[in-house]
């Protein structure tokens, strides 16, 4: 690779027709090398997914020998893990938390961008600074507080914690987006007698659909994939699929093919969302620059 690149870029290509032809050939050769390296990296990145799928269609004996396939992993999975209800729990928790995040971050983002009041800059900074609080630093008081209010026997506690964790970044993202909308447009709507609240609902909110999509996709993947909050704040019957899977593996008695089948099925929804909304995910990552 290095050698090919070096000769390719070497000066003095202008020695007639033969020279430029050689240069093009070397360029093509270098691209061939790059393509090969990218294929190898792709294999490294895709290997775990193939591994999960391949080994989920085995029983423990077939897994140990790494030979033969059967449906054992999948049939056992549905006996050992309430897959359907845990997928539903994941969906409910994600949807509820995302709704709260969107409700508070669109309104606050609009206020911080377009309805600035004295001290709003400081308040905005306070909200965004909460990004720095690691979940582990507050998890113990949070757990005790929510237990006190009886919120860890249902979805509520986990939903609230997820909503709180997602709000700072979502608010930052929405405020950045609303700042790009012209003040004149907002002022004109207000002058027309819509009032600030109605202007937000019928003018600003529809305009911010791309940012809303970004927040939704980022948060969906984050919450769907989370373990710690779900592990502590959800009762066993309301466990999400990710938590259920981790609990199953912690037992260390479950057969590997079952865990592979569980891993695969828990990963599929987030992967599908990723494949469809990839653009929004990348936008959110690189705009706010936070995972």
């Amino acid at each position: 690779m290095a050698a090919a690149a070096r000769t390719e870029a070497a000066p003095g290509g202008g020695t007639g027709i033969g020279g430029t032809g050689g240069r093009r050939l070397r360029k093509r050769l270098a691209n061939g090398w790059i393509f090969l390296i990218m294929v190898i990296i792709a294999v490294v990145m895709l290997f775990p997914f193939w591994y999960m799928l391949d080994n989920s269609f085995r029983n423990q004996a077939q897994f140990d020998q790494q030979g033969g396939h059967s449906l054992a992993g999948w049939t056992q999975l549905f006996n050992e893990l309430p897959v359907g209800s845990e997928l539903l729990n994941s969906t409910i928790v994600c949807a509820a938390a995302i709704l709260i995040i969107l409700a508070v971050s669109t309104t606050a983002g609009f206020a911080f961008a377009k309805l600035r009041y004295r001290g709003s800059g400081m308040v905005f900074l306070l909200v965004v600074a909460a990004l720095m609080v690691p979940l582990q630093s507050i998890i113990i008081p949070e757990y005790v507080n929510l237990a006190k209010f009886g919120l860890i026997n249902s979805y509520f506690g986990a939903v609230l914690v997820y909503a709180a964790l997602g709000t700072p970044f979502a608010t930052f993202l929405m405020a950045t987006y609303y700042r790009g909308i012209s003040d004149e447009l907002i002022e004109a709507a207000v002058m027309d007698g819509l009032g600030y609240e109605r202007t937000f609902l019928s003018i600003a909110l529809p305009l911010s659909l791309p940012a809303i999509a970004t927040v939704t996709v980022l948060q969906f993947i984050q919450i769907w994939d989370d373990l710690l909050v779900g592990l502590l704040f959800l009762p066993p019957g309301q466990r999400t699929i990710t938590v259920g899977l981790a609990a199953l593996s912690a037992g260390r008695t479950t057969s590997i093919p079952v865990l592979m089948a569980g891993s695969f099925i828990s990963a599929v929804p987030a992967i599908v969302v990723y494949l469809i909304f990839q653009r929004h995910l990348i936008k959110g990552l690189t705009l706010g620059m936070g995972k």
Partner: protein, 312 residues
């Protein structure tokens, strides 16, 4: 009052003042009203608990009753050899950072050559970002197991003698954890650098090429310096991830073991609080983690603010 006037269209006739100030009042009220829910959520569920954590870190607390001890809890904790064993693991994990940044830089540079199929490869490399640490840990566990893929592969290429049960040794278990971490950060960091490279002016590298610089010289002398901001940013999120996002991976892969071999500070907080019911000690370690994050986060805040208002 003057603050609310910022960014308004100018040249308002004096006659319209009353209307304007009435509007300004309503606008102020709407602003406070609309920002209130977000502030309430953040204060109640993030602000208050961090304050409580500071208070309880100086107590002996089991979740129900707390007895005040005072700041001496910190000197007690900071002289505990177990704490330093845990911090050592965090320090060793930092050694993974150059790889978690360097490899994606090279991958991004290759993708940026835009050879056939680069968009497809970009999607593939970014895929682990969508997958939970639980799932990644589950596969990594099998990969590094004694009868796992790694040892099979080593056997196939004639290195059967170095076959190891990586997760059974303290040092090798942490190495396995670090390798898994690097693997799953590849996509995120590659995307960041690729975005950075897309912002570069192609005429600059073209000029360097005309000046006779080789591909590698261009990469190191021209591209890298121009990407500084993106590298800083990726450094910050990689450190934050290494210190506060690996709970699930450790939980699934090693459970913090063997011994304290893979117990990092964030995992230690969980164990102190929920496995040993020492809520006060757990809160204290939480505060220490928070302080570390503030130091890293101040860098991030500076980057975010320099990014403000650009992008969309």
């Amino acid at each position: 009052m003057t603050a609310t006037e910022v960014g308004r269209p100018q040249a308002a006739a004096p006659a319209r003042r009353p209307v304007r100030s009435k509007l300004a009042r309503r606008r102020r009220r709407a602003g406070i009203l609309l920002s209130l829910p977000a502030v309430a959520v953040v204060v109640a569920l993030l602000g208050v608990p961090i304050g409580q954590a500071v208070y309880y870190s100086m107590t002996n607390w089991n979740g129900i009753t707390a007895t005040w001890i005072g700041p001496s809890t910190y000197s007690t904790a900071l002289t505990d050899p177990i704490f330093w064993r845990v911090i050592q693991n965090n320090g060793l994990l930092l050694l993974a950072i150059p790889f978690a940044i360097g490899i994606p830089l090279v991958i991004a540079a290759l993708l940026n050559e835009h050879v056939r199929g680069w968009r497809f490869f970009r999607s593939v490399y970014f895929l682990p970002t969508a997958v939970s640490w639980v799932v990644i840990g589950m596969v990594a566990l099998q990969f590094f197991a004694l009868n796992g893929s790694l040892n099979h592969f080593l056997g196939d290429v004639g290195l059967g003698s170095v076959k190891t049960n990586a997760l059974a040794g303290q040092g090798t278990a942490l190495l396995a954890l670090a390798i898994t971490f690097i693997w799953s950060m590849l996509g995120t960091n590659t995307i960041i650098f690729l975005t950075g490279m897309a912002t570069l002016d192609p005429t600059v590298t073209e000029a360097a090429r005309v000046d006779g610089l080789t591909r590698w010289q261009i990469f190191f002398r021209v591209t890298l310096p121009l990407l500084r901001r993106f590298i800083q940013f990726s450094f910050v999120i990689t450190v934050i991830s290494a210190f506060s996002a690996l709970f699930s991976l450790i939980f699934v892969m090693t459970g913090g073991g063997p011994g304290l071999g893979t117990t990092t500070l964030e995992f230690f907080i969980y164990q102190s609080g929920f496995a040993q019911s020492q809520f006060g000690t757990g809160a204290l370690y939480g505060i220490i983690l928070f302080v570390i994050m503030i130091v890293v986060g101040l860098v991030q805040l500076r980057l975010i603010r320099s990014e403000d208002g650009e992008g969309w």
